[in-house]
C-alpha cells in the first residue's frame, strides 16, 4: 500500500472519534467538520515527511481544534495562533491528550455523533445520507451516486437534514444509562438502514455495494465502544452473515440468484466465521432481541453445506419468536417460506392470505405468493400474482427475476399442450 492510501485509511478510521470530540468542543456540527477537514489537510502535508504520529486520532483532534480556534480568531480579526511549524510539533501534548481521550468521553462522543443522525424528524433516507456524510465522511457525489440522485439534490437533502438537527436540541451532557441504551437502539436501527440501502440494491453498481461494508464498519466501531451489548453483536453478526453471500447473489447479468441456487463456494468464509463467533458471544448474555434472532436465522443458512441441510423447523421456530418480539406482516411472510418447506406450499399459502391487505404494495408478497401457487400447479393464479409483483418491483433485477418465473410458466404450458397432441 502507498503512503497516501495508508494515510487515507487512518484518517477514515479516526474520523468518527475525532469529529465526535470536535463536536463536543464546538457544539457546532459544521465547525467540527471543517476543523476535521483542516486537520486532514495538514496530516496529508506533514505525515508523509515526519511519519505518522503515534496516536493519529489525538493528533487530528488537537490540530483540528487549534485550526478552528485560529479560524474563529481570524474571523474576528484578532491575533492568529502560532504558525503551522509549531502546531505540527505536538509530541509533548500528544501523550496527555491521548490519556484524556482514553477516559470516559470518547464513547459518548461517537455515540452522540451517530445519534444526531437518527433524529426522529428525519426520514430514513436523510438519516442514512447524513450518517454517510458526517460519520463515514463519504463525499456528496459519492452519496448521490449511492442513492441514484443528482449531486445537487443530495447536497440539498443533506443541508436540509443538517438544518433540522441544528434546530433540534442536541444533548451534550453525558447520557444516563437508560438514555444511552435508547440512543444505542436508534443508532443500531440507522446502521441497519445503511446496510439495507446497499444490500437490497444488489451487486449492480459499486457505490451502493459499498454501503453494507460501511454499515459493518460502523457496527464494529459501536461494538468496540459497547462490547457487552448482545443486540449490537447480533446486528453485526446479521450484517456479516447476509453480506457473506454478496458474491453469490447475482449472476454476471445482474439477475437475482435465490439462496437455494447460489454457489456456496462463493460465500465469504471470513465473514461467516466472524458472524458465528459473534452469535456465540451474544447467546451467553441470555438477553434475546430481534437482531440476534435474525442473525440466528441467517446463521442456520450459513451453516448448511447444501440447500437440503437447512434446518427449516428451527428457522420456523425463530421466526415465531420474532413475530412475538416484532410483530409485522413481513416477518410472517418470511416465516411462511419456512412453513412451505416444513408443511408444504398449501399451508404457507393459507398463512399469508390474511397479509394481502397490509402488504398490497409489497413486491415480495406477490413474488412469494406466485412462487407458492406455481409450486401447487395453479398456473393462472400464479401468473396473476407474478404480474402484480412486476408492477411493484423496485429494481430491474427484481423484475427480471419474476419474468423468469413467468417464462417458465409459459414453457410449462407449451410443453403440456404439446404433450396433449
Amino acid at each position: 500500500m502507498t503512503d497516501l492510501a495508508w494515510i487515507d485509511g487512518a484518517l477514515t478510521a479516526a474520523r468518527p472519534q475525532a469529529v465526535g470530540a470536535l463536536l463536543r468542543y464546538f457544539r457546532d456540527l459544521d465547525l467540527a467538520e471543517e476543523a476535521f477537514q483542516d486537520a486532514c489537510l495538514r496530516a496529508l502535508k506533514t505525515w508523509p515527511q515526519q511519519g505518522p504520529p503515534r496516536d493519529a486520532t489525538a493528533w487530528l483532534i488537537m490540530v483540528g481544534r487549534n485550526a478552528a480556534i485560529d479560524q474563529t480568531r481570524r474571523r474576528s480579526r484578532q491575533t492568529a495562533l502560532p504558525d503551522e511549524d509549531q502546531l505540527s510539533d505536538l509530541d509533548d501534548v500528544e501523550a496527555p491528550m491521548a490519556e484524556r481521550l482514553d477516559t470516559a468521553h470518547y464513547r459518548d462522543d461517537v455515540l452522540r455523533l451517530l445519534f444526531i443522525c437518527c433524529h426522529p424528524d428525519l426520514p430514513a433516507t436523510q438519516q442514512i445520507a447524513l450518517a454517510l456524510r458526517i460519520v463515514s465522511g463519504l463525499s456528496v457525489p459519492q452519496i448521490a451516486r449511492a442513492f441514484l440522485v443528482s449531486e445537487a439534490a443530495m447536497e440539498q437533502r443533506i443541508t436540509r437534514a443538517k438544518g433540522r438537527i441544528a434546530k433540534a436540541d442536541v444533548p451534550f451532557e453525558a447520557p444516563g444509562p437508560v438514555e444511552r441504551s435508547e440512543r444505542l437502539a436508534a443508532v443500531a436501527a440507522m446502521i441497519y438502514l445503511v446496510f439495507n440501502e446497499g444490500y437490497s440494491a444488489g451487486a449492480v453498481d459499486d457505490e451502493r455495494a459499498a454501503l453494507p461494508i460501511e454499515a459493518i464498519r460502523l457496527a464494529r466501531l459501536l461494538l468496540r465502544l459497547f462490547p457487552a451489548e448482545p443486540e449490537i453483536m447480533g446486528l453485526l453478526a446479521l450484517m456479516l452473515l447476509h453480506h457473506s453471500r454478496a458474491a453469490a447473489r447475482f449472476d454476471p447479468e445482474g439477475q437475482i440468484i435465490l439462496m437455494d441456487d447460489q454457489d456456496r463456494r462463493l460465500w465469504n468464509r471470513d465473514m461467516i466465521g466472524e458472524g458465528l463467533a459473534l452469535i456465540d458471544k451474544a447467546i451467553r448474555h441470555r438477553r434475546r432481541g430481534p437482531y440476534q434472532v435474525k442473525a440466528a436465522i441467517a446463521a442456520l443458512h450459513a451453516r448448511a453445506v447444501t440447500p437440503d441441510d437447512v434446518d427449516w423447523p428451527q428457522i420456523d421456530a425463530l421466526y415465531q419468536a420474532l413475530e412475538v418480539m416484532e410483530p409485522s406482516p413481513i416477518v410472517t411472510l418470511n416465516r411462511a417460506v419456512a412453513v412451505s418447506k416444513t408443511r408444504g406450499p398449501e399451508a404457507a399459502l393459507t398463512m399469508i392470505a390474511p397479509l394481502e391487505g397490509p402488504l398490497s404494495g409489497y413486491f415480495n408478497y406477490f413474488g412469494a405468493k406466485g412462487a407458492l401457487l406455481k409450486q401447487l400447479g395453479r398456473a393462472a393464479e400464479a401468473r396473476a400474482a407474478f404480474d402484480q409483483a412486476i408492477s411493484l418491483a423496485d429494481t430491474p433485477a427484481q423484475a427480471a427475476h419474476i419474468r423468469s418465473h413467468l417464462d417458465q410458466l409459459s414453457r410449462d404450458a407449451a410443453a403440456a399442450a404439446a404433450a396433449r397432441k
Binding site: M1, A56, R217, L223, M233, L236
Partner: protein
C-alpha cells in the same frame, strides 16, 4: 532461537481494507514468507478476527470473570502473529523490517519464545476446525 512476531495495528483501518487492498498486502507478505518457508524457519502463523469477536476470562477472581472484548483497550490491537526461527535479535529485526516494508503501519513486537509446542492439529485444518470435525 524461536521468536514470536506479534502484529499490532489499528484494526479500524485494517478491517476497512477493500478485498483488493487486502489481497495486495497479502501478496507482498507472501514474498517475504517464501524464503523463510523454504529455509525451514517459518513456524505457526495466524491472523486474528477483530477484537469485537474476542472474549476475555479474568483469572483474578473466583470463579473467573468472563468479559466481552479484548484484554486491554489499546490504540493498536493484536491482529496476528508469526513464530519464526532466527539466529539472533538482529536477524529477527531484519525479518520484521522486511514484513514492515510489505505491510506498513502499526508495529511488530518481537518476543523470544520461552516454550514451544508445534501442536497436534491434523494437516488440512482450517479456521473452521479440523477436517474430521467439519464433516456433518
Amino acid at each position: 532461537m524461536l521468536y514470536a512476531f506479534l502484529c499490532y495495528n489499528d484494526e479500524d483501518a485494517v478491517f476497512s481494507w477493500t478485498k483488493e487492498q487486502d489481497d495486495a498486502v497479502m501478496a507482498k507478505l507472501s514474498m517475504v514468507h517464501a524464503p523463510l518457508q523454504k529455509a525451514g524457519r517459518f513456524g505457526p502463523t495466524a491472523r486474528l478476527m477483530p477484537t469485537t469477536a474476542a472474549t476475555t476470562l479474568r483469572k483474578n477472581s473466583d470463579p473467573p470473570l468472563v468479559l466481552d472484548g479484548p484484554f486491554a483497550e489499546t490504540k493498536e490491537q493484536l491482529l496476528g502473529f508469526y513464530v519464526i526461527d532466527c539466529e539472533n535479535l538482529e536477524a529477527a529485526l531484519d525479518v520484521a523490517r522486511d514484513l514492515a516494508r510489505a505491510n506498513p503501519g502499526g508495529s511488530y513486537e518481537i518476543r523470544p519464545l520461552r516454550f514451544f509446542m508445534p501442536g497436534t492439529l491434523p494437516e488440512g485444518t482450517t479456521v473452521a476446525g479440523a477436517p474430521e470435525a467439519a464433516a456433518p
